[in-house]
């Protein structure tokens, strides 16, 4: 099945065996990355990987179903605080708390979907925005006795047989998570359920006339999306060892949105790329924090106005333009 971006024009510049070799080299490079990279580079990569998971999560709701979610950081927070609180108060083993946080996120997504998913477009934008902000305010200023407010919560280190797990372990853990989420996205997209979701984003009238129960699928997408976002949260806070409200601000909700837009709305693979790019960019801009907002605004406008199908199509257009220019 072709992806929604319909970019199934395969450029046959490389022959098949060469392509396989190239892909193989990339995979090996990724797998060996943590061994050969410096601490700092690894740190950047990990943030990028988190972004990839987040983007994959949002892509299911925003990309496949075409619905706005301005509060995705809220679910990111549920995952993070779920793990942090379970660790702090009952010392639950990590993978159990991770699993539980994801389930809780799904339940909250379900509850929120009941009022929110009757709305569309701008109402949904507002509703999800308010949701994200409510969560942010709740953890930063609301229940401060439990959540430690702005200071956040310290999380115990993950240990295997007494030795703490290092960055390298988490790198592979994040990779596995990305593969899992990508696989879920791919399986979903190329199935009856996924097609129904995409049809909703294309034309609700036609979808309904084909028997698609729109509300049903929106709820499912919202829940799945929330759960993947929470997974990212649970992984991220355990790696950093600290859960703080600043991870879950509106800025990050927008960043996740940007990641999906840059990667190409509706493309799971694009989401991975977009997530990597945008979140690594954010880390790079930390010393230049003043320019962050301007940068995001410019990127958002450029992609929406000129590259609505994401960076892949943008590169292909530029490449085509060059090809055309050469011929002249």
């Amino acid at each position: 099945m072709i992806e929604r971006t319909a970019l199934n024009m395969k450029k046959n510049i490389l022959g098949k065996p060469l392509k396989l070799a190239f892909a193989g080299a990339v995979i090996v490079a990724i797998l060996l990355f943590p061994i050969f990279s410096s601490r700092i580079t690894l740190h950047f990569a990990m943030v990028g990987l988190t972004g990839a998971i987040l983007a994959l999560g949002l892509n299911i709701f925003f990309g496949y179903c075409g619905q706005i979610n301005f509060g995705s950081a809220g679910f990111f927070a549920i995952g993070g605080y779920g793990v942090a609180l379970l660790d702090k108060y009952i010392q639950m083993p990590y993978f159990a708390s991770l699993f539980l946080s994801i389930v809780i996120s799904g339940i909250i997504a379900f509850i929120m979907s009941l009022p929110l998913l009757r709305l569309r477009e701008y109402m949904l934008a507002l509703g999800t925005l308010a949701f994200g902000m409510a969560i942010y305010e709740a953890v930063s200023k609301g229940f401060t006795s439990y959540t430690g407010g702005e200071d956040g919560i310290n999380i115990s280190k993950l240990k295997f047989f007494g030795t703490p797990a290092g960055d390298t372990f988490f790198f592979y853990l994040f990779l596995i998570a990305i593969l899992l989420c990508y696989w879920v996205s791919y399986a979903l997209r190329n199935s009856r359920t996924g097609r129904a979701m995409v049809s909703i984003s294309q034309d609700e009238t036609a979808a309904t006339s084909l028997g698609v129960n729109i509300n049903n699928y929106l709820i499912q997408a919202f829940m799945l999306s929330g759960m993947i976002l929470a997974l990212a949260g649970g992984l991220f806070v355990k790696w950093t060892g600290w859960c703080s409200p600043e991870y879950f601000s509106l800025k990050n909700s927008i960043l996740i949105l940007l990641a999906v837009v840059v990667g190409g709305v509706g493309s799971a693979f694009g989401a991975i790329i977009g997530g990597l790019i945008m979140f690594i960019l954010q880390e790079i801009l930390v010393p230049l924090a003043i320019y962050e907002m301007l940068a995001y605004g410019i990127i958002l406008c450029i992609f929406l106005l000129f590259m609505p199908k994401g960076i892949k199509s943008g590169i292909i257009s530029i490449a085509n333009w060059f090809k055309g220019a050469n011929r002249r």
Partner: protein
């Protein structure tokens, strides 16, 4: 009793700020089916312009007011131009929402760079002497806000319902194709509405600046609350937003004063949810389809 009065006045006053922003939202929505998520950022432009010209003492407040208006309108028109192509080809609303967001980010980003994301200069327009209401002292700014809002809202209502231009804008909102068929210049009509809307947002920023610590990032709570005000009131009628804003302002102030300061946002969120669930078209209903 006096405390009650104070809370009441500040509630209405802050509510008026939300009302103005809500009005700005409704104006643009009615004319072009776009939700201008950069509305809050336009208020920031207003506060920023005020800090540059009025509160720095360089310019007489009346001229400063005009400069605030001008800068806000220019900023608003920039966003309008960004979003026009999507509006013209009737693209899904998501596109225009995201584009206005992007535009807003650019504007605030620029202001932030300029001010190093620090505090804008602010000041007092009415001297430092507070007014006396009964036994409580209150800054005249609160009353000024209420007065200006009343004036602007009435002027807008009058314009929309009693003038030909206003009629044209209303037709534009209901059916742009029909509007162009009867000779209304839809592009200019939208530009005009955006100008009015951004001007109002800018004034809102100017009005609230002396009462808070304005920064480039103040746009966010403004946009959320302004939007909520418009939702509560209903998008159909421009003055619906005013009702919504005042209700919201009273609610927030009373909750903060009498219950708990830190959790006001939760109340707002619950109110919003309540409205969305039980009466999504708002108090005054009639969402223009």
């Amino acid at each position: 009793m006096d405390y009650f009065l104070l809370t009441l006045v500040t509630g209405v006053s802050i509510g008026c700020i939300y009302a103005l922003v809500g009005l700005a939202f409704a104006a643009i929505f009615n004319a072009s089916r776009v939700i201008n998520f950069a509305n809050g950022d336009l208020a920031v432009v207003g506060a920023f312009a005020a800090s540059l010209f009025v509160f720095s003492g360089k310019v007489h407040p009346a001229i400063g007011f005009l400069l605030v208006l001008m800068l806000s309108i220019i900023a608003g028109l920039l966003i309008n131009q960004l979003v026009e192509p999507s509006v013209r080809r009737k693209a899904p609303m998501i596109n225009s929402i995201l584009i206005t967001m992007g535009g807003g980010l650019i504007i605030v980003g620029l202001i932030g760079i300029f001010t190093n994301f620090g505090y804008f200069r602010t000041g007092h327009l009415w001297g430092l002497k507070p007014l006396l209401l009964g036994k409580i002292r209150i800054s005249p700014q609160y009353l000024a806000i209420i007065v200006v809002t009343a004036v602007l809202a009435s002027a807008y209502w009058f314009f929309l319902n009693r003038t030909n231009w206003g009629l044209g804008l209303r037709v534009l909102g209901i059916n742009p194709d029909m509007a162009s068929l009867v000779g209304i210049n839809t592009v200019r009509g939208r530009m005009f509405t955006w100008a009015i809307s951004s001007g109002i947002s800018g004034i809102a920023g100017f009005l609230i600046a002396p009462l808070i610590v304005p920064t480039a990032l103040m746009g966010l709570p403004v946009v959320v609350n302004g939007f909520i005000a418009a939702v509560i009131g209903g998008f159909g009628h421009p003055l619906a937003a005013v009702t919504g804003g005042i209700i919201l302002g009273l609610l927030v102030q009373f909750f903060t004063a009498y219950v708990s300061a830190g959790n006001a946002h939760l109340v707002v969120f619950l109110l919003l949810l309540g409205v969305l669930v039980f009466r999504p078209t708002g108090i005054w209903g009639v969402k223009l389809q």
